[in-house]
Amino acid sequence: MPSNAPLSPTHFVAPLDETPLVAVDKVQVAAKPSNLYLDAWRDMRRRPLFYVSGVIVLLVIVVALFPTLFTQLDPRACALSFSNQGPSAGHPLGYTKQGCDVYARIIFGTRTSLSVGIIVTLLVTVIGIIIGALSGYYGRWIDAVLSRIGDIFFAIPYILAAIVIMSVVAREARSILVLSLAIGIFAWPSTARVLRGQILSVKNSDFVMSAAALGVSHFRILLRHVLPNSIAPVIVITTIGLAGAIVAEATLSFLGIGLPPDVMSWGKDISQAQGDLRNNPMTLIYPSIALSVAVLSFILMGEVLRDALDPKARARR
């Protein structure tokens, strides 16, 4: 028996109780199932910034849906006799030059901003996902054609494109929907590019090949395996893009080529207040604050999502 042979003096053996043997490849799992999205959700709920931005986003949504919960005043009931008056009882933010209540106008303007933000985002995401997914997954000439189209749209800044489109559109035809289309039609290429890049790296995974060997159709593989594994960065840029769309609406309204006169909007209020910047700066500052807070909350939410959806960033903390 070789095991009885004398050991050389340099042969060291650790006592077994110091490192007890574990069965080879023993299954050890945490208490709860986890995958990228479940982990991201758990991670977000540990972050104060998630609650701060989440509360503001929720508030913006509630204000947009039910403005009358926040003010009983009619923002259109303006009287020149109140022009540029300061705050008074029931009118905490004072009056505009036209004698309208600033607070009421901000409350009612929320819906415009959010509507444009959501419609633009939907448009950008749908076009971006379709084009990005098709060009990334199918490659070859489909990719060549779709990517060049994307490049053309990408070369034109979407704000500039929207200005051109809106100045062509007749004044009567202007509406929230038209404005959103004008912004969204040139904003999708970045979404498409990000998704295409992700898909290129995911589609060569072994699990995609396994599914193909099973006989799963290409389209189904794209839909069920490739897209869910590539969509995380799109979620992030979509959230941040929503903030961008709100800014774009304010910009166009500020320039006076955005919305029809009867629609209230923060951008328009800022534009109208600029003449009185010296004698009544608050009429400009209040809608600006509303705009900044709304935009900031969506950007912060995007940051939270980005950190949560990037496992590497999570490990760094």
Partner: protein
């Protein structure tokens, strides 16, 4: 922990004086959100001047952490929490920053694991070699450094060193890059060279040449070498002393041969028993115990060979068009006139080094790529002539298991849906029946059924491969195409999966096409072997014949390159 200190080596005729490297009770931990996670728990080891020592262990055993701690290259979150690292009398654990720069590279050389990512692709080789020489004070900028750089490359065994200096890493093969890195590591004549899995990314024949060369270089200069490796055979062949690590501790250390022939610690015993390069017999089905290795059943293999072939590959050829830029492309024959057949219930191994075309054969058989010419007949049908419903039926008979355990499962599918996907795709059974089948399959691959709602990221590499096997078996196929299915796993886990595959084969009468670069594993599982080189099959025969009396020079070379083949176990 004084008991864990390995005494200096008496009776080996070496300098019995002070050790070159003396690690005492080293503790290293990684700082995480949940506090410090220990990686090394009291490691003590000594290296005498000129000695070659190998640390062996599975992934996560702390072997690389130990190496990185010595040269202060722990990742940002890693910290030496206690213990001393005495190098030539200086405590490295207490040294850092500028003072360490003098030691690293100068006195201790380092050869990293992955030659592909350790040379900067935007600088030419000459610049990178010269940079090291200047940084270590071995040469001044100017003509002097160029001449020295050429010497370094020549020593590293690269012909045409002058021309090579001006080339970029992408113009070098993996083996050549590793030569450069070894040259850089040894350029300043360090007293100690740490080689962290220096050849695990390379083909075996290249590995052998490089390790031989490394041994000559360090032998000539009297440099001590610390090898980090997962391969027990390689460690025993190359090092005088073995250190076996397990869970951040040293469980056994001593003279290499003695540890292999007379392992004491149960973990070392496990390792020795599982090392494929040291074992010699095909694993037999219906025996889960490793002891089955020693039972020779010559009749079984013989009777299986006579069965009718399930897969017949005839004159299979695949030509790719490789873009050479400027809208031109060049034909490249990846698979060249390959023919073989696999009898039912047997395993055929397709062996070859990287680029031999073996994985392309797998894709052609699975119809994931279409063949340029030739035919693949599965169950009497030519797969190139079927489509639609018939193809779907054919896919049911034949399922793949791929190499990368971290890429072969969709991270967003839980285990239950992963295994059920084939059933859903082929509309097999009701939801309830599918659930029952998933549980049955989990049981078949020896995993707890509680895993059904878990996700792949919670599992180890070996467990993921089990899931991949379960998925492949879901439709009760006759054939499994195993494309490097165990190559990425630790030896113990590998042995376990191989045993599982053998067990399943005898239970379900499966036919395997086992594609691998590792000849050592082939002996454990295959009945037949085909050796591929540059798209062609150079030798095809029964496993015993190939191993005992190889005909082709190339096969002999491959066999000789398996690390540890010459070692007699004596157990």
């Amino acid at each position: 922990m004084t008991a864990t200190t390995v005494a200096t080596t008496p009776g080996t005729g070496r300098d019995k004086g002070t050790p070159l490297l003396d690690i005492r009770d080293l503790h290293v931990g990684f700082v995480t959100q949940n506090g410090i996670v220990p990686a090394l728990n009291g490691v003590s080891l000594t290296i005498m001047p000129g000695e070659t020592v190998a640390i062996v262990g599975e992934s996560g055993s702390g072997k690389s952490t130990a190496a990185h701690a010595i040269i202060d290259l722990l990742p940002g979150t890693g910290k030496v929490t206690s213990g001393r690292i005495l190098f030539d009398g200086q405590d490295l654990a207490a040294t850092s920053g500028k003072a360490f720069d003098k030691i690293r590279g100068n006195l201790i050389g380092f050869v990293p694991q992955d030659p592909m990512s350790n040379l900067n692709p935007v600088w030419n080789i000459g610049f990178q070699v010269e940079e090291t020489l200047v940084a270590n004070g071995r040469a001044k900028r100017g003509k002097d450094v160029k001449a020295k750089a050429i010497t370094v490359l020549k020593e590293a065994g690269l012909a045409d060193a002058e021309i090579r200096l001006k080339q970029y890493p992408h113009q070098f093969s993996g083996g050549m890059k590793q030569r450069v890195l070894i040259g850089i590591g040894l350029s300043s004549r360090p007293k100690l060279l740490i080689a962290d899995e220096p050849t695990s990314a390379l083909d075996v024949t290249v590995q052998r040449v490089i390790l031989d060369h490394l041994a000559t270089l360090t032998g000539d200069s009297g440099t001590a070498v610390l090898f980090i490796t997962h391969d027990l055979g390689l460690a025993a062949e190359r090092a005088e002393k073995l250190v076996v690590m397990y869970k951040g501790k040293i469980v056994e250390s001593g003279p290499s041969l003695e540890i292999l022939q007379n392992p004491q610690h149960p973990y070392t015993k496990r390792l020795v028993a599982a090392a494929p390069s040291l074992a010699s017999r095909r694993i037999q089905g219906s025996h889960r115990e490793r002891a089955a290795l020693d039972q020779v059943v010559p009749d079984a293999a013989a009777s299986r060979v006579t069965a009718a072939p399930v897969i017949t590959v005839e004159k299979l050829t695949k030509v790719f068009q490789i873009n050479t830029g400027k809208l031109r492309s060049q034909p490249f024959t990846a698979v060249d006139d390959v023919s073989f057949s696999i009898p039912k219930g047997t395993t055929m191994a397709l062996v070859g080094e990287s680029g031999s075309g073996k994985s392309t054969v797998a894709k052609l058989i699975l119809k994931l790529e279409s063949a340029t010419s030739g035919s693949v007949t599965v169950g009497g049908k030519d797969i190139n002539k079927v489509s639609g419903r018939e193809l779907l039926a054919l896919r049911r008979q034949m399922q793949p298991v791929f190499q990368d355990p971290f890429g072969s499962l969709d991270p967003l599918y839980n285990i239950g849906s992963t295994i059920a996907e084939p059933l859903v795709t082929h509309r097999v059974g009701s939801k309830k029946e599918r659930h029952a089948r998933v549980l049955e399959l989990l049981d078949q691959v020896a995993l707890p059924t509680t895993l059904i709602d878990r996700y792949p990221n919670e599992l180890s590499g070996g467990q993921r491969q089990r899931i991949a096997i379960a998925r492949a078996l879901a439709l009760k196929p006759e054939i499994l195409i195993l494309d490097e299915a165990v190559s990425a796993l630790d030896v113990l886990v590998q042995a376990q999966i191989l045993a599982l595959l053998t067990e399943l084969q005898s239970e379900l009468d499966l036919t395997y096409l086992f594609i691998t670069h590792d000849l050592a594993v082939v002996r454990l599982v295959a009945d037949h072997v085909s050796v591929m080189r540059q798209g062609r099959i150079v030798e095809a025969s029964s496993t015993d014949e190939v191993f005992d009396s190889p005909r082709e020079e190339y096969t002999k070379e491959l066999l000789a390159a398996i690390p540890g083949t010459g070692i007699q176990l004596g157990v």
